[in-house]
Every structure is written in C-alpha cells, then in structure tokens.
Amino acid sequence: MHEWPDKPLASISAGHGGVRIVAVNRAAEVAGLRPGLALTDARARVGELETFDADPEGDLAALKSLALWCARYTPWSGFDASASGVWLEITGAAHLFGGERMMLEDLGERLGVFGYAHSLAVADTPGAAWAVARYRRGDVQIVPSGEQKAALVDLPVAALRLAGKTVEGLHRLGLRNVRDLLNAPRAPLVSRFGAEPIHRLDQALGEVNEAIPPLRPTPQFRARMAFVEPIAQTDDVIEALAQLLGAVCRQLLQAGLGARRLCLTCCRVDGTTQERTIGTSRAGRDPEPLARLFREKIDGLDAGFGIEAMILSVAATDPLASEQDEMASSAGRDQDQALGHLVDRLGNRFGPERVRHLQRQARHAPERASRTVSALVPSKPADVMGDNAPAAPRPLRLLPWPDPIDVIAPVPDAPPLLFHWRHRPHRIIRADGPERITPEWWREDPELLNISTERIRDYYRVEDTDGQRFWVFRAGFYRPGQAPKWYLHGFFP
C-alpha cells in the first residue's frame, strides 16, 4: 500500500498455476506489470521487482478503518473490498469543506500523509465516480453534474464494474469502450451476457438509482467538529464533547426524543479512529449528565498523535416529552432523574449487568420467587399477584443452590436435632415447620429437576445453640430404609 516511488513492488500470493501478483505499485505498473500476472513472467519482465506476501485480511481491515475514518467528511461511508476502494456519500456535506474540490484536495493531502497512493473522483453516481477514479489519470477529478455520459464514453468497458468474463466476451464482440456499448443494440447484449452490462451502464449514467451500502447505519442525530490543530489533552476533548453534546441535544429536543445510546468517534491524525459508547437507563437529552458518563470513558482514550475531528452520533433514541426539561422543578422528578443518572454512572463503569434491582415473582420454588434484573433495562411490572409478604417467614439470604448437609433427625418427619455444615456442627434447640413446598407441576422447569430428583420439599426454620437461624429442607417423602436427603437453603438473621 505504501508508495515506493522508485522501485517496482508487488504483493504476491499462491494463485492459479503458481505464484501470482496480487497488487503492484505505480513503478511496477509503469513497467507493465498487472495484477494476476505469474510471478515468473513478472520477474522476466522486471528483474529488480521486489515482492512481499499479500495480506488480504490486513488489507480489508485497513480499508475498513479508512472508511470509518472518513466519517470526518460524511456519516455515510462504505467500502468496496473487491476493488480496494472507499465510497463516500457527500451529498450535502461538501460545502462544509468549501466545496467538492477543496474537500477532495483535503482528503488527498491527508491520504498522502498516511502514505496511501490514491485517486479521487466525484460524480453524480457511484458508478461514474468509480470508473473515473480508476480509468482516468489525475489525482482529483470532478465530473460535473449531469455529464456522466461525456466522462464515460471514452473509458474501456471494464470501467463499468463488470466481471472479467463479461469484459472478455465484450472484447471478443469488438465492444471495447463505453461508447461502443452505448451504440450497440440492447436486446442481443442482454440475451448474450444477461442484464449485467446494461444494468451497470444505466447505474453509471444515473438511469437506475444506486445507493452506496453504508458501513454503519447513518445516524439521524449527529454533530461533528474538526480542529484546526489536532488536540490530545483530555480537557480539550471534554470541552469539545460538551459542545457536541449541546448540538446533539438541541437536535433531539426539536425531534422530541431522548438519547439511549451515544457514540463518540475520534478521528486521529494517523487515519485511525477511537470510539467510545455510553448507554443510559432512560432517554435523556440533558448535556451535563451525558458528559459525566463520557468522562469516565474518555480517561482511557488514546489520542495518539492528536485528534483532528470528533463526531458524536446518537445510536438509539426513545421518545421524551418536552415538558420534562422545563418542569424539572418538582422534587419527585428531580429525585427520579438523580437516581437515573446514578444508575447510568454505575452501569457505565461496572457494566449494565452489575447494577440490579430485586424483583419478586409469584413462584412456588423459593429460588424462583426472587430474582434480579438489570436496573438499566426498563423493568417490566413484577410477576406478583399481591404485594403482601409471603405467609411464612422467608430467609434474608438464600443460597443459589441448596447445600447438602449431614443431619441427625428422628424419622419419619421431625426437624433436625443436629446438622453439620461446612464441617461445623450445629445443635438445634428450636425449630418451626414443616412448610411443604411442592413443585409447580404446570411448569416445565428442568432446573428444578436438577437440584433434586425428589421434588417435594419440607422446609424447617431451625435455630442452633448460638442463636443462628437456618432454613433447611428434607427432599422427598419418607421411605423406610432410605436415609432422607437434607439441604441447607438459606439464612435468617
């Protein structure tokens, strides 16, 4: 990829019938080498040819990161892996850079600094831009609006993004350039080559609409800031971020929406990007708390040799009525908001799954009666019939899985007299029970089956000589000659 102006250079890989050339630099191209040529042929033509192994995955990654970096020009960028190109949809974006030519010159200059050989073109249609960039000499080319035909007629048919076989077939018919194709009758062409050549031609001329496949969905709300001098200080980034947030929040206010997820893209001077994403538990468009969420993430930002542009985009939104901003005076709402901000801050630091709410559920199995849900996800109403406490006392701490214990208890159904848990004996002096908890036969619950095959449990509340209180249960019915299984399940304070 890097330009070595003097020496011919080619990347190679094992291809059909031996090692073949994958890509060449300009010097090698001038010397007559083309991709696809066998390396032995190439060496015969150019003795001093330098070669290295092609790295298609690395190329693709570099291309993708370049396309992401191009977000500094427009939110809508994509890349063409087969032809090593990057698409930019610059409709409505060029004026930010002083027009199309200024924009392209700026882009070319930066690409030159990165060490990329490049060829840039602007046209009404992606097809025309593709053709001109690849088949007409010149660093920066602009096809005036509506003049695709004039720009294309003299180019070879390969400029229409046709498959190699199609190009060969057209050549055999004597159709060498676009003009030939335009003048040729369409029906026989379609019957011979399928719709491809005509479709590509129409796309390039703008007869058929073609959209650039975007690398990322284009955000509806977005703010961008480019710096005259690259910035690297955290304070500067925070300051710039505050302005971007202000701009985005104004857009959101007009749309009556609030942000649920925001993405900050920092374009570094070396042509790579750094991204930071924050999520919120409820829609918000107040810049200050959002900035606080970002501040945690910005500490780890690697500015490299400097950040030359920052783009803030809203990745997810929720409706947010406008009165919430103006009438935030009520204390209850203030509290709600403060709590929401706290949840967001905790969630963004530890991960959303670490900040939780307890929820009760109307389930028989004790381990199902309580669960935790992420506090960042808007919670559904709990699956509980009434709001009353359960009829019988329940422990404060419940083991996620009942722990087997050794128990001395009179048969068939009496509370334990003594049990061992973790090698410590507990002599029981008081006991309540049993409370029989039966499985929910109307639910298929494989996890319950795993805990014990005997699914009916008789729970006892027991207290040992030290005043420690436990929740233990005997699994299954009493069967003569068979030692009952006991488990410790929870702790009462």
Partner: protein
C-alpha cells in the same frame, strides 16, 4: 472601676465566643447545619435513641456495623436500618443502594425487614476500589437516603472520603464488616457490633418454635455520645398470615420470664445468666 467593667464584659464575650466556637466545631465535625440539628432516623427504641446524640442514626455520616458469628445478624440489622432510612418521610427520597459482591439477597426476606425491593438498588461489585467508588457516587448523587457497602479492608483515607461524600449528599453511609475486622481510625459516627442471640419463642406442647429474631447490639463507639449494650428483637409484624406494617420495628427484648408479650425495657447486661436460665428451663 472602668477596668472592672471591661473585664466583666470580656467574660460575657468569652462565653458567647466559646459557644460559637463549639457550634462551629460541630459544623466542621459532622456537617451539622447552622441550627445545630442534624437530620436523623430514630430507632424507635427510646433507650438507644437517647444514647445517640442525634436522637437516632444521623444521615450524612458514616456508620460501621461489625458482624458476629456467621454475620447474618448484622445483615439483618443492616437491612432493618436501610428499610428505616428508605421509609423515612422527612427526607423526600426513598431509595437505598447496597454494594455487595454476591447476588444472594432474597427479596421476600428483605420485605419482612421492611425493605421494599423497589426501593433497593444493588451494585454487584466485589473489589474494594469499586465498592468505595460506587458508595461515593451513591452518597454524592443526592438520590438516595442511605448507602451500604461491604469492603473487606478500609483505610483512614477511604473513611474520610466517604464521610465527605456522605456530608455532601446528606446521605447515610453504612459499612458492613466481618467479625474481627481491624478497627480503622477515621471519622466514624457510630460503630456497632451485632451478634445473634437465641430467640425467645414460647414452648408449645413440647415443641419449641422460633421466636422473633433477637440480637445483641453493642454500640462500641459513638462520637459525642455514650456507648451501650442492648438486646433487641425485630418484630416483623406478622400475625396469623397477615402483616401489620405498623407493628414492624425494633423492640427491646423482653425478659425471658415475663413472656414475649411484655415489652419491659431490659438493658441486657447479664446475657450469660439469661441464656443459662433458658437452657435450664
């Protein structure tokens, strides 16, 4: 003559200045507002509230609870305290944060201590650094009435930071620590030692059912207050399958011989004799 008058005037001034300084010192020490009153959540037991200079547990301060035995008594005590803070009407907020590494709290059990799961926010963090960070965030946020954390080690600096954060947000900070934790010097308002006591259930035709949870509370440190030792019961207000919210709360544990219904104030100073009597009975 003149001289004499001057000194008397000076004397009066000294008294006023001293009072002013005391006030100032109190303000500096524990964020008491100019009025000299600090908002506090009472226990509901006269004896304990009287021992505390704030008439209850002060918000905007750091309280330490050290557990005994398996630590479940302290866990229950903390749940009850959080519930009292969450229900306190004076604060206009009602949420509490619990930073705990393990996810084993049981919602129905918390409810019997009056802690509604909708009022409780859990942060599942286990590293001390993260716990302290989360606690500070919660204390400063102004959205909570109380924050509970279970750090394994503490430093004086961490305690100072917590105190500062608690003062800023007007929120109470609770530290639940395992038995035998080192006594870290720092701005702690109260330090409690909590251990389980055998409950006082009444024997019923040979069966010995459990009574209400009974704990020994030891106030081993109290800034500007006195220390003390009480045995208390937690009444969950449960009676024949229904729950009476008003009957829920702390109560001094009644004397064994008088039966569980009489709430005679007993400062339980001879626990050993008490329990041996029960064993005999």
């Amino acid at each position: 003559m003149n001289n004499n008058q001057k000194t008397s005037v000076k004397k009066v001034n000294t008294v006023a200045v001293l009072a002013g300084l005391r006030q100032k010192l109190a303000t500096l020490e524990h964020g008491v507002s100019g009025s000299g009153q600090c908002s506090a959540v009472p226990f509901g037991i006269g004896e304990i509230d009287a021992a505390l200079p704030w008439g209850g547990l002060a918000s905007g301060m750091v309280h330490e609870v050290v557990g005994g035995d398996g630590g479940h008594a302290a866990l229950g005590f903390c749940s009850a305290l959080l519930a009292r803070f969450a229900q306190d009407r004076g604060m206009r907020r009602s949420n509490v944060l619990w930073c705990r590494g393990r996810n084993d709290l049981y919602a129905p059990g918390l409810l019997s201590f009056g802690l509604d799961q909708d009022r409780l926010l859990l942060a599942e963090v286990s590293k001390d650094r993260d716990i302290l960070w989360a606690m500070e965030e919660g204390l400063r946020s102004g959205a909570l009435t109380a924050v509970l954390g279970e750090p394994s080690t503490l430093t004086t600096t961490a305690l100072r930071r917590l105190q500062l954060a608690a003062e800023t947000g007007g929120t109470a900070a609770f530290l639940l620590r395992p038995r035998g934790s080192a006594n870290v010097p720092g701005p702690i308002a109260t330090r409690w030692q909590v251990s389980a006591l055998p409950s006082l259930g009444r024997d019923f035709y040979g069966a010995r059912p459990l009574g209400q949870p009974r704990w020994q509370l030891e106030l081993v440190r109290c800034r500007n207050g006195s220390v003390g030792r009480w045995s208390v019961e937690w009444r969950d207000g449960r009676r024949k399958g229904t729950t009476d919210e008003t009957a829920r709360g702390f109560a001094l544990a009644p004397d064994l011989r008088d039966g569980p219904d009489q709430t005679a104030a007993t400062q339980d100073k001879n626990t050993d004799a008490d329990s041996s009597a029960r064993m005999a009975g």
